[in-house]
């Protein structure tokens, strides 16, 4: 395919820097967003772990009461 061969020689002068900058900004913002969401997910995971522990404790208590 001619696509690869038609690629313009990427100018590493002024223009290239600006274009790269623009796309980098986009990527950075995206990654920052993902990082923030990752933190939220970690919180949810931690919460779920706690809640699961509470539920298991309850279950154990109830079994003790029944057997006692």
């Amino acid at each position: 395919m001619e696509l690869l061969f038609a690629a313009p020689a990427l100018p590493l002068d002024e223009a290239g820097k600006y274009v790269a900058g623009a796309y980098v900004v986009f990527v950075v913002l995206l990654v920052v967003y993902v990082a923030i969401m990752a933190a939220k997910l970690q919180r949810i995971e931690r919460d779920l772990r706690e809640v699961a522990a509470i539920a298991e404790d309850r279950k154990a208590e109830r079994r003790e009461e029944v057997s006692a």
Binding site: A6, D47, V51
Partner: protein
């Protein structure tokens, strides 16, 4: 179930983004008058268009909220606006980079679209302090919806007014040496637009899924009579 369909959506988004980037740098011809700098448009303009549509979608969700009184629409509205504001930051920064590259200044008042976008952004930026200032959750949701509807109506009007204020309008069309919009550029642009639109949808769904998950955890806690961890957001509506 908000997470349903999130995986295929994200895969489609990644594929589209990869395709668009390839098209931008390997396929689209060089612009006759802006040269390589014009390539910024393939990221800047789709981001802007999607953000603006996102704001209006937020307004539509707000109308649904007001009519049905179902809080989920408020959550949708909030997330739509939130993601669009984030896209808006990207629009303004990439716009400034383009301005610096083309005109030598980090900001130009000559571009009516960029200026209109700034005003719209400034308005939606007030959405957060506005929500924060209203304590009662019910009222906050209702008023936020009114805000979203008003702001949604504002967007087209603002663009029209700012455009009219320009005495010299620089038509910003893509062109090669032959003039006019060549097919390759249009194709590339449309692909980028589709990719960014998919990205917006994915992020909105993603955010709603995360909110839903933490809403379910709260629900579990309440069912178990366990202490509900404090630290719910003052402004972000809960999803359950």
């Amino acid at each position: 179930m908000y997470g349903k369909g999130l995986r295929p959506l994200s895969i489609a988004t990644v594929a589209m983004l990869a395709l668009s980037l390839s098209l931008v740098f390997f396929y689209a011809p060089l612009d006759a008058d802006q040269g390589f700098i014009q390539k910024i448009f393939y990221i800047h303009v789709p981001l802007a268009m999607v953000a603006l549509v996102g704001f209006i979608v937020g307004g539509v969700f707000a109308i649904a909220h007001l009519r049905t009184d179902n809080r989920k629409w408020d959550a949708y509205s909030y997330v739509a606006i939130h993601i669009s504001v984030i896209f808006g930051v990207a629009v303004l920064i990439t716009g400034a980079i383009w301005a610096k590259a083309s005109w030598g200044h980090w900001w130009v008042w000559d571009e009516p679209t960029l200026v209109s976008f700034l005003i719209v952004f400034l308005l939606y930026a007030t959405y957060y302090p506005f929500r924060y200032a209203i304590e009662d959750k019910d009222r906050q949701a209702r008023y936020a919806s009114v805000f979203a509807v008003t702001a949604g109506a504002f967007v087209p009007l603002n663009f029209m007014a700012v455009r009219m204020a320009q005495s010299l309008v620089h038509p910003r069309t893509f062109a090669t040496a032959d003039g006019g919009l060549p097919g390759e550029m249009m194709l590339t642009f449309l692909c980028s637009l589709a990719a960014i639109a998919l990205l917006w949808t994915t992020l909105v769904k993603f955010e709603l899924t995360a909110k839903s998950a933490s809403g379910q955890v709260k629900r579990l806690r309440r069912a178990l009579d366990a202490p509900v961890a404090g630290g719910g957001s003052r402004i972000a509506p809960e999803v359950s």
